[in-house]
Symmetry: C2
Subunit: 146 residues, 2 copies
Amino acid sequence: MQDGTFSTSGYLHETGASRGNVYAGNCPTRQLLDRIGDKWSVLILLLLGAEDMRFNRLKRQIDGISQKMLSQTLRSLERDGLVTRAVESTMPVTVTYGITPLGRELLAALRFMIDWAETRIEDVAAAQVDYERRNGCANGCQVRDG
Amino acid sequence: MQDGTFSTSGYLHETGASRGNVYAGNCPTRQLLDRIGDKWSVLILLLLGAEDMRFNRLKRQIDGISQKMLSQTLRSLERDGLVTRAVESTMPVTVTYGITPLGRELLAALRFMIDWAETRIEDVAAAQVDYERRNGCANGCQVRDG
DNA sequence: CAGCATCCATGACGATACTG
DNA sequence: CAGTATCGTCATGGATGCTG
């Protein structure tokens, strides 16, 4: 099918960064980020990774989320084969969401990122404060010490 | 300072998902995603992880990026302590970007996600095609096989 | 070369109202 | 309960022009 490799990291690992624009937009990392880089996907994946859950349960857990976004994100994740959606024809209807093997795999990979965030996000915040201090608040106000 | 833990994954691992709205918005994962979940951060981190680079070199490598977004994203990453910015007062000025230890650490964590993307993104794409087939194209047109 | 300032389009997201 | 539909807002990001 294809006569060239577009491996994002493999590219960097093996050939060095001088082969053109591999980053044009068809790189897998970009595609993944386009799908789960949004505001809620990872959180939902995380919750469903822990246990299956119904719609309103999810909504209550995440809380900041609107039902529109929950619905939309769930649909997107389902479409991508990352979560399952099981409908029971009770009255009223009961819908249970879960995670697929593929989704669980992704979650395992994301776990490293999540762990990093938990231990290091403070350093990032600190770096930001430090940066602001050095550069004053934006371009208008500077500290007067002279 | 704080009297409770807000660990995103730890929360799920240890206590089970029933403690309220831990996902409200102060969770580390959310914060991280707010910072690097954008369109270009990860790509830039990836490139700078391979080697230091100057502005226009980065721009040429990523190619789809506008200089506004490159500038903006670099500044954001620098502010967060993830990339370095070194200015040489040559003529004209020479600015070289690199990655910090913190950034390299994050990149290492992201690598798992990237690797997953490279091996599995096709499955995701396939799942999507499959989903579209089952549900027809949107809500108006369905396959007629009966 | 390495940017900043401005304008503008898109779409992500939230709020609200309604449905089976 | 589990959504869909619609509207408005705001941030993201691209295009363009200017600067030191």
